[in-house]
Structures are given as structure tokens and as C-alpha cells.
């Protein structure tokens, strides 16, 4: 009876483990192996040692890609960690039409990233709505280069990502806020704490676990940014490829009938390590706070 019990848990988790092994572990290992070969889309590869990794440092776009990706993550993580919390606090109240507002804020989450990016493209184009209105109002004389200036394009993509992600993380915070004990707020209010003080002393500690989770999710998603920059900036990654992200670089290397799969795999390994670093930092921060 006891031996029967010992393998029952393994049987239960076996489908999940199998899934993980076939669709996560195996591709990851395969990618690592391919990164040491010169395999192309249609031609077999041979072992070339660390050549792909040395080629990486000669890639004129790698530095830009790392910088853009890290800036994207550094700006998105704090914004998307705190703004949805504030939004959740606003829509948490039981006022008339609050369900409507929650739905409205969640709406961009449902739309595909490509559709959202195309809408923003029309808004931010030289002849788009934003430039048109600003010019009509006399605030600017010539169009602001949202889609052609390196930093404006990057921050446009960040604004788009924040706008699109607000609703999703707001929902996560709404469920976390429901677990913050009301008595703590009431006790703090009795002690004379104002709204801001109660936010920092009661709300934030109460949802810190969720904040850490949200920050990690955003960090991972930010490191994988692709559609926003691809649609806003074009397939080359903005003017001269200055707004290319790491995932775009991987896509560019691997696409086409002459795709350099070995090199793209080496870039993927680099992306993996760059993503793991911030995640470990966030996890460590969360553990220390505990």
C-alpha cells in the first residue's frame, strides 16, 4: 500500500512533466546545442565552437538591441508595477458604473498586440491624429518624429505596452487587494494615518507578494518585446535598425530561406541569461523583504 502511494504523485504530475520536457526543456537544450553550430534553415550545420558567440560582439546591432531591451524593461517594470495598483485602488470601490470602468480598462488586454500597435501607428504617424491635432492647435509647427526618432519610437512602444498591460495587472491587484484585511486599514485610520500613509504602510505590504510576481512577469515580457517595436518601427527596427530589440534580432537572424539558425540560437542563449539576471534580483529582493 505504501509503495503504491510512493509513485502515485509522480503519475499525477507525469503529464505536466512530459509536457515540460517536450515543449520547454527539449527546445531549450536543443537551442543551446544549435548555438555551437553553423546550421542554416535549409542546410545542415557543423560544430563551430564559440564562433557564433564571438560573431555576436561584431554584430553592429547587438549593443543597440541590448540597450533598447534593458531600457524598455527598466521603464516598464516600475510603471506597470505601480500604475495598475493605483488603478485597482480606484476601481475597487463599489460605486455606480465601476463594472463598466473595469471592463474598459481591461479592453486593451483582449486586443492583439499587433492590432493595438497598428492603432498607435496611425495615431503617431507624421500625418496621424496626435501630430494633426497638435499642429492644428498650434503647439507644434512640424510633425514630431514619433516613428522615426530613436528614443521617441522606443518610448512610444513603452507607452503602448503600459497602456495595453494596465488592465491585466489591475485585475491581478484587484484579487490581491481583496485579501488585505480591512481591519488594518481601519486601525491605521484610527491611529491618524492619511490616505498616502495607509497606502505605503498597509496596502503595499499587503500586496507585496503580488507586486513581486507582477514585476517578474513584466520583466520577462519586457525582455521579449517584439510586436510593439516591429509594428511601430517596421521590420528593420526603426530607422537604421536603432530600435531593434533582442527578440527582433533573433527573428531577423533566423528568418528567410537563408536563416542563420545557429547564430539565432546563440542570441537566444544570451537573451536567456539576460532575463534570468533581473529575475534573480527581483526574487532576492522579495525574499529579503519577507
Amino acid at each position: 500500500m505504501r509503495s503504491h502511494r510512493s509513485y502515485t504523485p509522480w503519475l499525477l504530475v507525469a503529464p505536466a512533466l512530459l509536457w515540460l520536457a517536450v515543449f520547454n526543456l527539449w527546445p531549450a537544450l536543443n537551442t543551446s546545442v544549435l548555438s555551437f553550430t553553423n546550421v542554416h534553415t535549409l542546410s545542415g550545420g557543423s560544430f563551430i565552437g564559440l564562433r557564433n558567440y564571438s560573431l555576436m560582439w561584431q554584430d553592429p546591432h547587438l549593443r543597440d538591441a541590448i540597450l533598447n531591451t534593458l531600457v524598455f524593461m527598466a521603464v516598464c517594470v516600475p510603471l506597470l508595477t505601480f500604475l495598475p495598483l493605483l488603478l485597482a485602488l480606484l476601481v475597487q470601490r463599489t460605486l455606480p458604473f465601476m463594472g463598466f470602468f473595469r471592463t474598459v480598462f481591461y479592453f486593451p488586454v483582449i486586443a492583439s498586440a499587433v492590432v493595438v500597435a497598428m492603432i498607435w501607428q496611425w495615431l503617431l504617424d507624421d500625418r496621424g491624429l496626435v501630430n494633426g491635432l497638435a499642429q492644428q492647435a498650434g503647439w507644434i509647427h512640424s510633425a514630431l518624429p514619433f516613428l522615426t526618432d530613436r528614443w521617441l519610437l522606443l518610448f512610444s512602444a513603452i507607452a503602448l505596452t503600459v497602456w495595453k498591460g494596465l488592465g491585466y495587472y489591475m485585475v491581478l491587484y484587484l484579487s490581491a487587494l481583496g485579501n488585505v484585511r480591512r481591519e488594518l486599514h481601519e486601525a491605521a485610520a484610527v491611529d491618524g494615518a492619511g490616505t498616502v500613509r495607509r497606502f505605503w504602510s498597509v496596502t503595499v505590504p499587503g500586496v507585496r507578494g503580488t507586486m513581486a510576481l507582477v514585476a517578474m512577469l513584466i520583466a520577462v515580457n519586457a525582455m521579449r518585446v517584439f510586436a510593439e517595436l516591429y509594428v511601430l518601427g517596421g521590420r528593420t527596427g526603426g530607422i537604421g535598425g536603432q530600435d531593434v530589440s533582442l527578440v527582433m534580432l533573433i527573428q531577423q537572424a533566423a528568418s528567410g530561406a537563408d536563416g542563420r539558425l545557429g547564430y539565432a540560437s546563440a542570441l537566444s542563449v544570451l537573451l536567456f541569461f539576460l532575463t534570468v539576471g533581473p529575475l534573480l534580483l527581483l526574487a532576492r529582493w522579495n525574499r529579503r523583504e519577507d
Binding site: W26, L29, N30, V33, L34, T37, N38, V39, T41, L42, S43, G44, G45, L55, Q58, P60, Q121, W122, D125, D126, R127, A143, L147, T148, V231, L232, G233, G234, R235, T236, G237, G238, I239, G240, G241, Q252, A253, S255, G256, A257, D258, G259, R260, Y263
Partner: protein, 429 residues
């Protein structure tokens, strides 16, 4: 220790399995000689690229029926792939071993497939190849890095013709009956249009590419064909002129961004008065926008015209090579090509017997008829601008550098130097 042994075993297994995934092309399959003396039988698959529609479907249905009637006991299964992502589709077919037996491929995709050993050498299997098919077409499917083999039968040839919007040009003081003939005349006319319309109308609407570099008198590669070397003074001067025109506002400001729809789309929207397109463009516009078609005036391509070739290849790993080879030859024989081109005026057959037919040089007096004649004339001297070694990644690098030059972030010379360096680095990989 047992743990280390397990890890080593796992790593070895992973490496072995990954090796299987790498795959590889063998040139041996391509070099085989097909036995053509036995009767034809069995089934093959035939794939075209974006040709299943009201106009062409009846042609292919009749073509296949005709072949099957001539060879009882044979079946040709026709599939057509949509226009977008054709290279990716063919790539996945090659890697999954499901490339159709007979397949329509442009030279760049054919090069990648041939390099992987996926296409039959037709020079070895069609004794009359050089007599039957036009040399420019055969040349497009013969790749210096793959020896002397020929990997497709030329099917149809196309080039660019210039098309002008008569009403827009008249409105801005230009004469569509005397359109620009060179790039310099184009820039001068673009200035007139820009100034007269207050910057609302455009004549030029595309950034330069590889074709413009060739048209500046530049050889793309070194004489031995082993390296790119298009960073010349002539190419830089051409890029300087484009940059000056862009800065002066003669081109739409978004030609370098993702919102640029392409000069053909802008021409249809009547925001731009000049586009280049295939010889049957007016016929296409007649169907999509009958009000615009009468406004279109054709003229020969500026400077040297580009040559576009489409060919029919045979998969080296076909399980019925005799039938595949016979059908490829049947589809591209003179009679069938002539019948095919009748549906697409402005294109030329890939057979020598038809391509020189003087009938193609006679216009019926309509603008579409004139365009067809210009296409015929242009094709006599047209050049295939894109070397087979030129990949998507190289094109991306060139476009990026051109964009940097046109926005003043780099000098034209520096941009071309960078593009050449990147292209050569990619070539070495």
C-alpha cells in the same frame, strides 16, 4: 559520480538528437540523371505561386487535363500558395520533406533550395535546354557558388514599366506625354510637382535599393564574384541625390517608416503620380479601380530596367522524377507558355521561340498595349539586379544603412561602407 554520469549521458543524447534536427542537404540527389525512356505513370504534385484565381485557374485546369490525356494513367495534383510568405512556406516544405514534385520558384528561393540539394539539375536532364529557353532566364537559375547546374526552366519573364498619373501631372504643370527618362529628370520633375502643389503631391515615393545602385553604374560584386563591393563613388552620389530629395520633401516623409505602404499603393490612392510595376499593371488597375485606369500613361523604365524571372523546378527527392520532369517540360514548352502569356500581357515567355516574336512589339493602340510593348523593349536589355548570394538579411542591412544616410545620421559613403561590410560578414557565415 552517478549524477555526473547521468548528466553526461543526457548531454550526449541531447547533442545526438539535436544533430538529427540540424538536417542537411546533399548535392548528390540534384546531380542524378532521370531515366525518361519508360512510360509515364503515377501521381505528382505541382505548386504555383499566387496563380489560383478567375483568370488563371481555367488555364491550369486545362493544362493539367491536357497532360493527363496525353499520358493516360498519370495524375497531377495542383496546389497554389498565397503570395505572402512564399519563401517561408517553401522552406517548411523542404525541411519537412514535402516539397511538391514540380514547383514554381523565383531565383532567390530556388538558390536556397538548390543549395540544400533539393532541386534537380535540369541542365543534366534536358538536353535541349540552351536551345529551348532564353539565356537570361537560364542564367538566373545558374549559381556561381553551386557550379554549372541549372535549377529551373524559365517560365515567364517580367520587368518594370513606368506608369504616370496624367491628371495629377497636368494639375501640377507637368506633361505626362513627356515623362522623365532618367533619375535626374525624375528629381527635377519631383521638385516641380512639390513646389506647384505646395508639398501635397508627390512624384517620387520610394527609397533607393539595390537596383538604384546598379543603375548608378556600380558593379555589386568584385570581378571574381566572391565579395560585395558596391560602396563606390557613383553609388554614394546617387544616395546623396536621394537624400537631398528626401530632405527637400520631394518624397513622402514616411517612406523610411513602417507606415509606408509602397509606391504602388500610394499611386492607386492618387497621392503619388509615378509608380513602377509589371507590364500588365493597367489591366490590373482596370479591375480594381476603373476610374483611375484611363488616367494612367505608361513609359519605359528609367535607366536600365530590372529583369524578373519565374521558373519551374523539379524536386530532387521526387518519388516520380520521370513524370515530374515531363510535366515541368510540358508546362514550360513553347505552346503552353505562349497561351499562358496571353493571359498576362506585359510579360514574356521563357522560351526562345516565343520571346523573340515580333508580335510582342506591336501595340493595339491602348495604354495597356503600349505598356506591353515597353515591357517587351525593356526586357531586351533588362538586368537581374539581385545576385543569388544576396539574402534577406543583407537586404535588411542595406535598407537600414540607406535609411541612416537619408535621415542624415550617416554620410552616404559611410552607409554604403557599412552595408558592404555587413553583407560580406553575412556572406562569410
Amino acid at each position: 559520480m552517478p549524477r555526473i554520469r547521468t548528466l553526461l549521458a543526457l548531454a550526449t543524447a541531447v547533442a545526438a538528437l539535436a544533430g538529427c534536427g540540424v538536417g542537411g542537404g546533399s548535392g548528390e540527389a540534384a546531380k542524378q540523371t532521370v531515366a525518361t525512356d519508360s512510360p509515364l505513370k503515377g501521381e505528382i504534385s505541382f505548386q504555383t505561386w499566387s496563380l489560383k484565381n478567375d483568370k488563371f485557374t481555367p488555364y491550369f485546369t486545362a493544362l493539367i487535363k491536357d497532360f493527363e490525356n496525353q499520358h493516360p494513367g498519370t495524375t497531377v495534383n495542383w496546389t497554389d500558395q498565397p503570395g505572402d510568405g512564399y519563401a517561408d512556406k517553401v522552406t517548411s516544405q523542404v525541411t519537412s520533406g514535402s516539397l511538391p514534385d514540380v514547383v514554381n520558384l523565383p531565383p532567390d528561393i530556388a538558390h536556397a533550395v538548390a543549395k540544400a540539394g533539393g532541386l534537380l539539375d535540369l541542365g543534366r536532364n534536358v538536353p535541349t535546354l540552351n536551345q529551348d529557353y532564353v539565356h537570361s532566364g537560364l542564367k538566373a537559375y545558374t549559381y556561381a557558388d553551386l557550379g554549372t547546374a541549372t535549377y529551373a526552366l524559365p517560365w515567364y519573364l517580367g520587368t518594370d514599366v513606368s506608369f504616370w498619373n496624367k491628371a495629377m501631372m497636368q494639375r501640377d504643370g507637368l506633361d505626362a506625354a513627356k515623362p522623365p527618362k532618367t533619375f535626374d529628370e525624375l528629381v527635377a520633375a519631383a521638385k516641380v510637382m512639390h513646389d506647384r502643389s505646395g508639398g501635397k503631391d508627390y512624384l517620387m515615393s520610394r527609397p533607393p535599393g539595390l537596383g538604384d545602385i546598379v543603375n548608378s553604374g556600380t558593379q555589386l560584386m568584385t570581378p571574381d564574384g566572391k565579395k560585395f563591393a558596391f560602396n563606390t563613388g557613383g553609388a554614394a552620389a546617387m544616395l546623396d541625390k536621394y537624400t537631398a530629395a528626401y530632405k527637400a520633401g520631394y518624397l513622402p516623409s514616411n517612406v523610411l517608416t513602417s507606415t509606408y505602404e509602397g509606391n504602388s499603393a500610394l499611386f492607386v490612392k492618387q497621392q503619388v503620380a509615378w509608380t513602377t510595376a509589371g507590364g500588365n499593371y493597367i489591366q490590373s488597375v482596370q479591375q480594381s479601380d476603373p476610374s483611375l485606369a484611363p488616367q494612367i500613361v505608361p513609359s519605359p523604365a528609367l535607366d536600365t530596367a530590372p529583369l524578373y524571372v519565374q521558373g519551374i523546378s523539379v524536386a530532387a527527392k521526387s518519388k516520380n522524377l520521370p513524370l515530374a520532369l515531363a510535366f515541368a517540360q510540358f508546362a514550360t514548352d513553347n505552346a503552353n507558355q505562349v497561351a499562358f502569356i496571353k493571359l498576362a500581357p506585359g510579360y514574356l515567355p521563357g522560351t526562345t521561340a516565343a520571346a523573340g516574336d515580333p508580335a510582342y512589339s506591336k501595340s493595339d493602340g491602348t495604354p495597356q498595349g503600349d505598356a506591353s510593348v515597353y515591357a517587351y523593349q525593356d526586357m531586351q536589355n533588362a538586368v537581374n539586379f539581385t545576385p543569388p548570394l544576396w539574402t534577406d538579411a543583407m537586404n535588411t542591412a542595406l535598407n537600414q544603412q540607406i535609411a541612416l544616410a537619408m535621415t542624415g545620421k550617416e554620410s552616404s559613403r559611410q552607409a554604403l561602407d557599412n552595408a558592404v561590410n555587413q553583407a560580406n560578414q553575412l556572406l562569410a557565415q
